[in-house]
């Protein structure tokens, strides 16, 4: 190993190369400006000492101009965070395999992250597409701003559905086959709303409201009860659909409101139980005073040999039910009902109807047809 040591001149760069350049004439390009190091002397031989007020270094402004125009090379200083900068990895989207499971990478909602999404996506408006390259996804704030649905790919939804299915019971097959069955079988529909909020307060007053829709036909009310119900319901009843809508919000909680809505419906029926005979819209034969008296009378006439009542075939000492079940008595009961309830409402009270009534009565008792005087007397005595 031949090495030069202790050379007078300090070697900067290859001197052989320089010599070669000189020899071949290539060095013409790089002609260094020769500075004359000649020192000026004045008359007495003293060197001219310049008064330099400016510092020997280049000024900042000068340096900046030189850098900006590219005349000097900016010396790259090593930055102290070299190891941290070396620890910067490559975006992990480039490491992802093509057959990975995306649902594992983006399982929940998340702002867009360009180093995680391996797709070549661009976003932002270019006025002149031929003059400007498409925007890159790194550093793109527009992609970050908008909500993305990378967590709801079809594969993810399928996974979630399969898992949720385990907590679900099958839909009633009868309803699937015939959807209109719902109106008949399940006539009450209760609707309530839950409210999910952005923020720290989870309560919402509006979630206590219950809307109950009842198909009135399914209640199987007879005309009287239905009429009463409709009178009470008022504007809650929709005539077109036969739908009764009850909206309750007077209680604090949803459960209380639900119970109240059911109570409203059933209350009417319980009230019905309190109803007495006096409240009846129509007078019924069974349980009426006339019925009792008639039964007593007929029992006596059966035993009376003088009267030829058609009830004789019931035999001695018939019971009240047997008497009432006799068809003649039933016939009379119908006439009686008609006479009591429909008079003056449907038909006017005429002599014919009254005569009919009397005739039936005599027939039942086994009395012969009498003259006008006796019939009048008898009819007045037999009617209660």
């Amino acid at each position: 190993m031949n090495r030069i040591r202790g050379v007078l001149s300090v070697r900067n760069g290859s001197s052989l190369a320089e010599k070669l350049r000189e020899a071949t004439g290539e060095g013409v390009r790089r002609k260094a400006v020769e500075r004359t190091n000649a020192v000026e002397t004045d008359a007495s031989g003293e060197p001219f000492r310049e008064a330099w007020l400016m510092p020997k270094r280049k000024l900042r402004g000068q340096l900046q101009i030189e850098q900006a125009t590219g005349r000097t090379v900016v010396e790259q200083k090593s930055r102290m965070d070299i190891h941290e900068r070396l620890a910067v990895r490559r975006p992990r989207a480039e490491e992802m395999s093509a057959d990975q499971d995306w649902t594992n990478v983006w399982p929940a909602a998340r702002s867009f992250n360009a180093s995680v999404v391996p797709l070549p996506i661009r976003m932002s408006y270019r006025r002149h597409p031929d003059k400007r390259a498409p925007f890159k996804k790194y550093g793109n704030l527009e992609l970050v701003k908008i909500p993305n649905f990378l967590h709801l790919t079809p594969a993810a939804i399928e996974k979630h559905c399969l898992v949720i299915k385990k907590f679900m019971t099958p839909y009633p097959p009868e309803l699937l086959a015939d959807p209109s069955l719902a109106d008949k079988e399940l006539p009450i529909k209760v609707t309530c709303s839950s409210y999910v909020h952005q923020g720290t307060n989870i309560r919402d007053m509006r979630s206590r409201v219950i809307t109950m829709r009842v198909n009135v036909d399914a209640l199987n009310l007879d005309g009287r009860a239905k009429e009463k119900l409709l009178r009470l319901a008022g504007r809650r009843y929709d005539e077109v659909n036969n739908l009764l809508t009850i909206v309750t919000d007077r209680c604090h909680t949803r459960k209380q409101n639900l119970d109240y809505a059911y109570y409203l419906l059933t209350k009417i029926e319980k009230w019905e139980e309190l109803k007495l005979r006096q409240d009846d819209v129509k007078v019924y034969f069974s349980g009426s005073q006339g019925e009792k008296q008639l039964v007593n009378l007929l029992a006596k006439t059966i035993n009376n040999p003088a009267l030829k009542t058609p009830l004789k075939d019931l035999g001695d000492k018939p019971t009240a039910e047997q008497i009432l079940q006799h068809e003649k008595v039933k016939d009379f009961a119908e006439t009686w009902y008609k006479y009591r309830n429909t008079m003056e409402l449907v038909e006017p009270e005429t002599e014919d109807v009254t005569r009919e009534y009397g005739r039936k009565m005599r027939e039942l008792l086994g009395l012969a047809k009498k003259s006008a005087h006796t019939t009048q007397q008898q009819s007045s005595s037999s009617s209660s």
């Binding site: 102290m80 965070d81 620890a87 998340r110 702002s111 408006y125 550093g139 701003k145 952005q198 923020g199």
Partner: protein
């Protein structure tokens, strides 16, 4: 003032623009979110800055996303706006070296109870991982304690501001 607030953060979509007499001084209205060009093209503009305010909803999206502009949520609207402003000022003040061009471009999203802060930070001056992680832990915990709801930072990192630049004017 209002214009600056609107420009930076809680932009409300203009639904009904009724005709009226402008009572504020003329220059107040027209200067918000608009940047003057410089002689040596040193003003860096991001896409968000380059698009004018009337392009919100057309060419650029909102920086805050919340549902408190709907009619049913009028009560919470001022609270949300205040929370947004707190978060923005905190982020801008806490990451002074890392924030990108004035630090206005912070995206705030709300998913349920959680507040997500997204955006970009740059590490051109000094990349110090431990410092950054410490600050992330501090900011998340601090903002959660202040706003009483979980706050998560989803800030991404960019090497220099030039990586988010749209043009220079």
């Amino acid at each position: 003032m209002l214009g600056q607030v609107l420009a930076r953060g809680g932009r409300l979509p203009c639904v009904d623009c009724a005709r009226a007499i402008a009572t504020s001084s003329a220059d107040m209205v027209n200067r918000a979110a608009k940047y003057r060009s410089t002689r040596d093209r040193s003003q860096l503009l991001t896409y968000d800055m380059a698009m004018r305010p009337h392009h919100i909803g057309v060419k650029k999206a909102w920086l805050t996303w919340h549902s408190q502009n709907l009619e049913e949520f009028r009560q919470q609207q001022p609270v949300t706006l205040t929370q947004d402003e707190i978060v923005r000022r905190f982020i801008r003040g806490f990451f002074p070296q890392h924030v990108v061009v004035h630090g206005n471009e912070v995206v705030i999203k709300r998913r349920g109870n959680v507040l997500f802060v997204s955006g970009f930070l740059q590490y051109s001056k000094r990349l110090d991982h431990r410092r950054i992680y410490w600050m992330f832990g501090f900011v998340e915990e601090f903002l959660s304690l202040v706003l009483k709801q979980p706050v998560k930072l989803e800030l991404a990192f960019v090497e220099t501001e030039d990586d988010v630049a749209y043009n220079y004017i």
